[in-house]
């Protein structure tokens, strides 16, 4: 409940303040967002499974974001930034879909 409210509040804040992304962070923000979404979906699934742990969620959230950004950063340095970004998005996308499927089974029993 708090998380959902915080998400909405964050979106509203982002829309209200209209900050510009620093140039250095620009390539990492979308990947970080996707990674964080993966963590959030995982958290929701864990909660529905009854195995939710705040510590696990916080750690997985932060590490997901950091690792994703790190991978993209490394890819940029190696000259394969675009491909690595795609790889990260694909992997995280698959995970998000898996988690979403689990959540769906819990909510709709189907």
């Amino acid at each position: 409940m708090i998380a959902a409210l915080a998400l909405v509040a964050g979106i509203v804040l982002g829309l209200v303040f209209r900050p510009t992304v620093p140039n250095g962070l620009e390539p990492y923000l979308p990947i970080a967002v996707v990674a964080a979404l993966d963590a959030v979906f995982g958290g929701v699934r864990a909660r529905l499974d009854g195995i939710f742990d705040s510590k696990v969620f916080v750690v997985s959230f932060v590490s997901n974001v950091v690792v994703a950004a790190l991978v993209v950063f490394l890819g940029d340095k190696l000259g394969v930034g675009g491909q690595l970004s795609t790889a990260v998005v694909v992997v995280l996308g698959i995970r998000i879909f898996g988690n979403a499927a689990a959540i769906r089974r819990h909510v709709f029993h189907a």
């Binding site: 708090i2 998380a3 409210l5 915080a6 998400l7 909405v8 509040a9 964050g10 979106i11 509203v12 804040l13 982002g14 829309l15 209209r18 900050p19 510009t20 992304v21 620009e26 923000l29 979308p30 970080a32 967002v33 964080a36 979404l37 959030v40 958290g43 909660r47 529905l48 499974d49 009854g50 939710f52 705040s54 510590k55 969620f57 916080v58 959230f61 932060v62 930034g81 675009g82 819990h106």
Partner: protein, 245 residues
């Protein structure tokens, strides 16, 4: 199993330390998710703000740059071609203008000579009296011939502009010029070199002498400005056509 989880979290609140830890964790999660929402909003806005180039990869940018370069090249070539066309058109336009001016000047000169345009200039005015009506068409034709011979460029005989097709004929009603009866005294206006024209009229055995022999007189006066306002209609050749140059 899924119905258990809200209660599954509750037991943590039994101890004060655990409850504090739970609150802190909730706050941390809230902050993280708030940041996530914030980032999503920023990213969505950045992406939809239209500056697609800032998100494009290096290779994409290079290909876009190549596209733009080749497009600019094509446009430059088009510009050069169009400029060439423009210069050609301007050149031909000025040629056309010159040709048109020449044609207009020619038309005006021909109009003066042909009697289709009013004319003005130095010349003579002449009054030929013929109380006995003794002057025949041939004599009056001599007047015009003499004037032409002396370089008259425009001639008005009585109320009629004399042209290339003008003809004097004798009839029972008198002398006709272009089918119109002309009666003495005859007033003749001619544009040309006044002195030459006057000399030509008064040459021995010429127009003045003929008039005097017929019992009349010819009074020639040079004028600095003679206005010939009478015009003829433009002749419309029925048979002759301009031959190709």
């Amino acid at each position: 199993m899924s119905h258990e989880k809200p209660t599954g979290e509750q037991p943590g609140g039994k101890l004060a330390g655990l409850r504090g830890r739970h609150l802190r964790a909730s706050a941390l999660i809230g902050v993280l998710v708030l940041l996530l929402g914030f980032a999503i909003a920023i990213q969505v806005r950045t992406n939809s703000s239209g500056d697609a180039l800032s998100n494009a990869s290096e290779t994409d940018l290079i290909s876009i740059l190549d596209d733009q370069d080749s497009r600019a090249d094509r446009l430059r070539q088009q510009i050069a071609a169009l400029q060439t066309t423009e210069q050609q058109l301007q050149a031909s336009g000025s040629r056309d203008t010159v040709a048109l001016q020449q044609a207009q000047q020619q038309a005006q000169a021909l109009g003066v000579l042909l009697g289709t345009l009013p004319a003005t200039g130095p010349g003579i005015s002449m009054t030929i009296t013929d109380p006995k009506h003794a002057l025949k068409a041939a004599d009056l034709l001599d007047v015009v011939e003499e004037l032409r011979g002396a370089g008259a460029e425009a001639i008005q005989f009585g109320p009629i502009r004399v042209s290339t097709s003008s003809a004097f004929t004798d009839s029972t009603a008198g002398v006709q010029l272009d089918g119109q009866v002309v009666a003495p005294p005859y007033t003749v206006l001619a544009i040309g070199d006044g002195q030459t024209l006057q000399t030509a009229m008064e040459i021995p055995g010429g127009v003045a002498a003929t008039a005097r022999a017929a019992g009349g007189n010819a009074d020639v006066q040079t004028q600095p400005t003679v206005d010939i306002g009478v015009v003829r209609s433009v002749p419309n050749p029925r048979y002759a056509k301009p031959a190709g140059r």
